[in-house]
C-alpha cells in the first residue's frame, strides 16, 4: 500500500500551526447577541416564581427566556442514533431544577457584561425539594426526581431508574456453585471531566434565505440539526450546521449542549447569537463520565479457566439520563467480551441523582468495565497462584470465537452476533511483557521508603455501533486529477480528515495532496452519525473507500470509452488498454468535462456494519509508592494495541499518548468533590488537575501487526481503546509494590497509607 500505513501530515496541519482562524469562535458576527445561561444554585427545587422585570429593563438586554416561554417538549441532549435509546427526560427550560448548575433561564444582550448583569437581576423563588446525592440510595429514596407526565422512556420513574439492563447466558448460579474457585469484589470509578481545552461554543445567525446557520463545536452535526429542529419546531430544511475545527471533545461534544439555546435567540430576534461556556460552566454544567459501582463474581475451574462471570452495575447518571442505557450496555458488553466464560450474567441500573449530568466520555462505559474486571482478574491470579499475564492469556477470546452476549446487548435494541476475525491480544500481552521488563520487575522484593511495582491490564473496545451507525461520502473528480472528498464525518482534532483522505487516496491511486477534504457541514456533506463509538475510521472510512472505488470504476469506464476499447485497466493514474494505448486521469477528466463523453466523474458510498471488530490493548504500568506519604508516582506506561492495520502511525500513536494521561488523571489527580448541598467544589483547572507536561511518565507506545477483514484496508478503531487499561494497570502495580488493593478510584494517598501494613 502506498498511502495507508504512512505518516502523512495532517491535512489541516498548516492552518493549525499558523493559528489561522479556523475554530468556531474565530470570526466576528455583526450585531451579535451574547447569551448567558442562569444556572441553578440549588440541587433540587421547584421554581415558584421568576421575576425578570428588573433584568428586562436593563439597557442592552434584548431577550430573556424562562420556562414559561416554551411549551413542554421532552428530549434528550444525547447525540446518538434515532430514535435515541436515552430517556427523553429534559426540557429546554423546566420549572424544576435538578442539580446545582441546571438551567433556570437564559438572556441575550448587546454585550457579555450586560448579559451577566441581567442574570444577577433575575429574582427566582425556589421551593427546595429533598435531594439524592448517593446513587446507592436513589432507588429507595421514596420520591421521584422525574415525576412529570410527558417524559418518555424512563425505566422506572418512582424508583429513579433512568435505564435498566439484564441478560444471562447459561446458568450463572449453578456454575458458580460448582466452580473450584469463586472470587468476588466491589469496585467503583468516579465522576471525571472530559476537559477539552476549547469550551463548548456555538454561534447562530440567519442567512440570506432566512435559514438558521449553527456554527458549533460539536461531534455530531447531523444530530444537532435533527434535535434543534425538533425542540424548536422548525423544519430540518431550515437549518444548516457547520462544524469548523474543534478544540478537542472526547465525548463532551456528543451532546446538544447549548445549540438549541442560541438558536432560540436567533429565531426570536433575527440577530446572530453567541454562547460560550466559561471554564467554570464547563466543569459544572456540561457533561462528565458516569460513575459506576460494579460488583463482580468470577468462577474458575481447576484449570484456571473461567466458568462464570456475574456482574452487577449501579450507574450514576446525575440529574438527567443522556447516554444512560448505552454507557451501561457498553460497560457490560466490554466486560463480557474480554474473557471467555460459558455462563455470564449482567444486571444493571442507571439511576438519577441531584448531581451533574453524565454523558459520553471517551471509552463510553468501557473504562468503567475495565477497572473492576482487570482488578478482580489480578486478585484472582494472586489467589490462584498464577502470573496475571498468564491468567489473562488463558482466558481471552481468540480468533473465530463467537461472543454470544453481543447478540443480546445491543444499543438499546437487540444486538448482532459477534465473531472475532482478528485479535492479537496475546501478542499485545507478550510484547508488553518484554517491553515493560515485567519478569524482572515483578519479582523484585521491595524494601525502603520508596517501593516500586508493576501491573498489567488488558482492554477491549468496539469499532462503531453495529447495525446502527451509518456514514457516507461523496467524491468528485477535477480536471487536474484532484478529487473533492465530502464527508459527514467529524474531525475533532483526532485527524480523521487526514485518515479518510488517506483511504480515498489509496483507493484512487493518488497522493494525499490530490484529495481536498471538506467535512461536517449538513448543507454540503452527506450524512454521518458523527464522531463517537470509535466509528470514524471503520465506518466512515469504509464509506469513503466505497465512494472512491465507485469513482475509480467510473474513471476506468470513461477511459475505455475515450480510448474506444473494451478492455483496459488502471495502472497508477493512467487507464491502459490491452493494446498499449493509454490515457491519464487528468486527460480523462478534462475531456469528460469539456469535449467527449461529457459528465461529472464522481462516486458515493454509504456504510453501515453489522460487525464491530474489537481493538484490543495491553497496558503495563510501573509505579513508585512513597510509603511515608502514600503518594503514587507513575514511572512508565507501556501500551501495546491491536487496532488492525494502522492508517497513519504517527496519528495513531498520538491517540494512545493522549488517552493515557486521561486515564492516569482518573486514577490519580482528577476528582470531583461535592459539599453536602451537591455543589461541586473544584471549579477550575487549578483544583481540577489534569495532567501537565511535567506530570507525564515515560510512555512506550506500540502497535502489533494485525488485519481486520471487515475494516477499510484492514483497519479497526484506535481512538478509545487506549484509555481503558492504564488506571487498573496502575492500581495493580500499587498492589505489587506495597500490597494495598485500591478498589475505588481515584487512588487517595491517605487511603493507601491507612492500608499500608509495613514494619
Amino acid at each position: 500500500m502506498k498511502v495507508i500505513g504512512k505518516d502523512i501530515q495532517r491535512v489541516d496541519g498548516h492552518s493549525l500551526v499558523r493559528g489561522k482562524p479556523v475554530f468556531t469562535d474565530d470570526m466576528r458576527l455583526k450585531d451579535v447577541l451574547h447569551v448567558k445561561i442562569m444556572h441553578s444554585p440549588v440541587a433540587h427545587a421547584q421554581i415558584l416564581n421568576i421575576d425578570i422585570s428588573r433584568a428586562e429593563i436593563l439597557d442592552g438586554v434584548v431577550a430573556i427566556f424562562t420556562h414559561k416561554d416554551f411549551k413542554p417538549h421532552y428530549y434528550t441532549t444525547a447525540g446518538q442514533g434515532y430514535p435515541e435509546p436515552s430517556p427523553r427526560d429534559m426540557l429546554i427550560l423546566d420549572s424544576t431544577v435538578r442539580y446545582v448548575g441546571d438551567r433556570v433561564a437564559f438572556v441575550a444582550a448587546e454585550t457579555l457584561e450586560i448579559a451577566e448583569r441581567a442574570l444577577e437581576l433575575i429574582k427566582v423563588e425556589y421551593k427546595e425539594l429533598p435531594c439524592i446525592f448517593d446513587a446507592e440510595k436513589a432507588m429507595t429514596a421514596g420520591f421521584a426526581l422525574h415525576p412529570s407526565e410527558g417524559t418518555i422512556g424512563i425505566h422506572d420513574v418512582s424508583r429513579n431508574i433512568a435505564a435498566h439492563l439484564d441478560a444471562e447466558l447459561g446458568d450463572v448460579d449453578a456454575a458458580l456453585k460448582t466452580s473450584a474457585h469463586v472470587f468476588e469484589g466491589i469496585y467503583s470509578t468516579p465522576f471525571v471531566q472530559m476537559a477539552h481545552i476549547e469550551p463548548h461554543i456555538s454561534l447562530t445567525w440567519l442567512d440570506n434565505n432566512n435559514r438558521l446557520v449553527i456554527r458549533t463545536s460539536t461531534q455530531v452535526p447531523h444530530h444537532v440539526r435533527r434535535i434543534v429542529a425538533e425542540v424548536l419546531d422548525i423544519p430540518i430544511a431550515r437549518i444548516r450546521v457547520i462544524k469548523p475545527r474543534i478544540g478537542g471533545a472526547f465525548g463532551g461534544k456528543q451532546e446538544i449542549l447549548n445549540e438549541e439555546v442560541v438558536s432560540a435567540i436567533t429565531l426570536k430576534t433575527g440577530r446572530p447569537a453567541r454562547i460560550e461556556y466559561t471554564r467554570e460552566e464547563e466543569l459544572n454544567a456540561a457533561r462528565v463520565r458516569h460513575p459506576e459501582l460494579v460488583t463482580f463474581r468470577l468462577g474458575f475451574n481447576e484449570k484456571q479457566l473461567l466458568t462464570a462471570i456475574d456482574m452487577n452495575i449501579l450507574e450514576n447518571c446525575g440529574a438527567y439520563g443522556p447516554h444512560a442505557l448505552t454507557v451501561m450496555s457498553v460497560t457490560s458488553l466490554k466486560a463480557l467480551s474480554m474473557y471467555k466464560a460459558p455462563n455470564v450474567r449482567v444486571n444493571g441500573d442507571g439511576v438519577y441523582t441531584n448531581l451533574p449530568i453524565a454523558g459520553a466520555y471517551r471509552g463510553y462505559g468501557a473504562p468503567q468495565a475495565c477497572f473492576p474486571l482487570e482488578s478482580i482478574m489480578d486478585e484472582a491470579a494472586e489467589k490462584l497462584g498464577v502470573d496475571p499475564i498468564d491468567l489473562r492469556l488463558k482466558n481471552v477470546f481468540q480468533v473465530e470465537d463467537d461472543v454470544p452476549i453481543a447478540k443480546i446487548l445491543g444499543e438499546g435494541r437487540e444486538g448482532f452476533p459477534m465473531v472475532l476475525y482478528s485479535t492479537e491480544i496475546k501478542t499485545c500481552l507478550d510484547e508488553g511483557r518484554q517491553l515493560s521488563n515485567w519478569d524482572t520487575l515483578r519479582s523484585k522484593h521491595q524494601t525502603g521508603r520508596f517501593r516500586r511495582g508493576i501491573g498489567v491490564a488488558a482492554a477491549v473496545q468496539g469499532s462503531g455501533i453495529p447495525g446502527i451507525d451509518m456514514g457516507a461520502a461523496f467524491i468528485k473528480m477535477n480536471e487536474d486529477a484532484s478529487f473533492n472528498l465530502q464527508i459527514g464525518a467529524t474531525d475533532l482534532g483526532t485527524g480523521s480528515d487526514t485518515a479518510l483522505a488517506q483511504i480515498a487516496a489509496e483507493a484512487l491511486n493518488v497522493s494525499v495532496d490530490k484529495i481536498i477534504v471538506y467535512s461536517s457541514d449538513t448543507d454540503i456533506t452527506p450524512f454521518d452519525k458523527g464522531a463517537y463509538a470509535s466509528s470514524t475510521t471503520y465506518i466512515s472510512g469504509t464509506a469513503v473507500k466505497k465512494a472512491a472505488e465507485q469513482c475509480k470504476a467510473m474513471i476506468l469506464e470513461q477511459g475505455k470509452k475515450l480510448l474506444q476499447v473494451e478492455e483496459a485497466e488502471i495502472i497508477n493514474t493512467d487507464v491502459i488498454a490491452s493494446d498499449g494505448q493509454s490515457i491519464s486521469y487528468a486527460d480523462i477528466c478534462m475531456k469528460t468535462f469539456y469535449t467527449d463523453e461529457q459528465m461529472q466523474i464522481m462516486g458515493t458510498g454509504s456504510h453501515v456494519s453489522f460487525d464491530s471488530p474489537p481493538p484490543l490493548n495491553a497496558t503495563f504500568a510501573e509505579v513508585e509508592v512513597d510509603t511515608l506519604t502514600g503518594i503514587v508516582r507513575v514511572i512508565k506506561v507501556v501500551s501495546v494495541t491491536d487496532a488492525g492495520q494502522i492508517i497513519n502511525p504517527k496519528m495513531a500513536e498520538g491517540q494512545v499518548e493522549g488517552a493515557i494521561p486521561q486515564s492516569l488523571g482518573m486514577a490519580l489527580t482528577e476528582f470531583m468533590p461535592f459539599d453536602d448541598q451537591g455543589r461541586m467544589l473544584n471549579l477550575d483547572f487549578n483544583s481540577y488537575h489534569i495532567y501537565t507536561a511535567g506530570d507525564m511518565p515515560k510512555l512506550v507506545v506500540r502497535f502489533v501487526e494485525s488485519n481486520e477483514p471487515t475494516g477499510p484496508y484492514g483497519a479497526k478503531a484506535v481512538a478509545e481503546i487506549p484509555i481503558n487499561a492504564p488506571a487498573p494497570a496502575i492500581t495493580n502495580a500499587v498492589y505489587n509494590a506495597v500490597g494495598v488493593r485500591v478498589r475505588h478510584l481515584p487512588i487517595q494517598p491517605e487511603q493507601v497509607l491507612k492500608e499500608l501494613d509495613i514494619e
Binding site: K20, I660, F685, N686, Y691, T692
Partner: protein
C-alpha cells in the same frame, strides 16, 4: 484610556476600557491565534510573548502593557514559510486539535530566546503551563527538544 505598545512589530495605540484584558483586546483585533480556554491563567491557550516572555494574556490588563513588545503566533511565520518550530511540530505530529498549539509554540519560542541549556526538563518546564488534552505532551516535548537543540547547536557553531 490610550496606551501605546508594539504589536507584532508595529507600533500601535489602543483605546481601551479599564479592566480590558490583553486577551480580549487581541481577539477583538482579530488576532485569533490567541485562544480562550479558561480566563484564569490556568490553561496557557492564550499565551503571547511580552518582551519575549510567554505570558497568559487573559491575566494581563491592558494598562500594564504600555511601552511593551507584544508578539502573537501570527508574527512567527510569514505567508510563505513556517517558522522552524512550527515546521517541527507539524512534522512530529505534535498537533492534534491544535487549540493549545499557538500557546505551546510561543512557550517554546520563549524558551529558545532564553539563555541556558535545553534539556527535557527545561522543555517540560516551559510547556508546563500549556494544558493539552489531546497529545499527552509526548510529541510536543520531542518536537520542542529537537528544534531547540538544533538551534542551540547552530548558535554554538556560528
Amino acid at each position: 484610556m490610550t496606551i501605546q505598545f508594539e504589536l507584532n512589530g508595529q507600533l500601535v495605540s489602543a483605546d481601551t476600557m479599564p479592566g480590558t484584558t490583553l486577551l480580549e483586546y487581541l481577539r477583538s483585533e482579530e488576532l485569533y491565534s490567541v485562544k480562550h480556554g479558561c480566563d484564569h491563567g490556568e490553561c496557557g491557550a492564550c499565551a503571547v510573548l511580552i518582551n519575549s516572555k510567554a505570558v497568559n494574556a487573559c491575566l494581563i490588563l491592558m494598562h500594564t502593557i504600555e511601552g511593551k513588545k507584544i508578539e502573537t503566533l501570527e508574527s512567527l511565520s510569514n505567508h510563505e514559510h513556517l517558522h522552524p518550530i512550527q515546521e517541527t511540530f507539524l512534522r512530529a505530529g505534535a498537533v492534534q486539535c491544535g487549540f493549545c498549539t499557538p500557546g505551546m509554540l510561543l512557550s517554546v519560542e520563549a524558551l529558545d530566546r532564553e539563555e541556558g541549556e535545553i534539556t527535557e526538563e527545561s522543555v517540560k518546564d516551559a510547556l508546563n503551563g500549556n494544558l493539552c488534552r489531546c497529545t499527552g505532551y509526548v510529541k510536543p516535548v520531542d518536537a520542542a527538544l529537537k528544534v531547540l537543540q538544533k538551534n542551540k547547536d547552530e548558535e554554538v557553531q556560528s
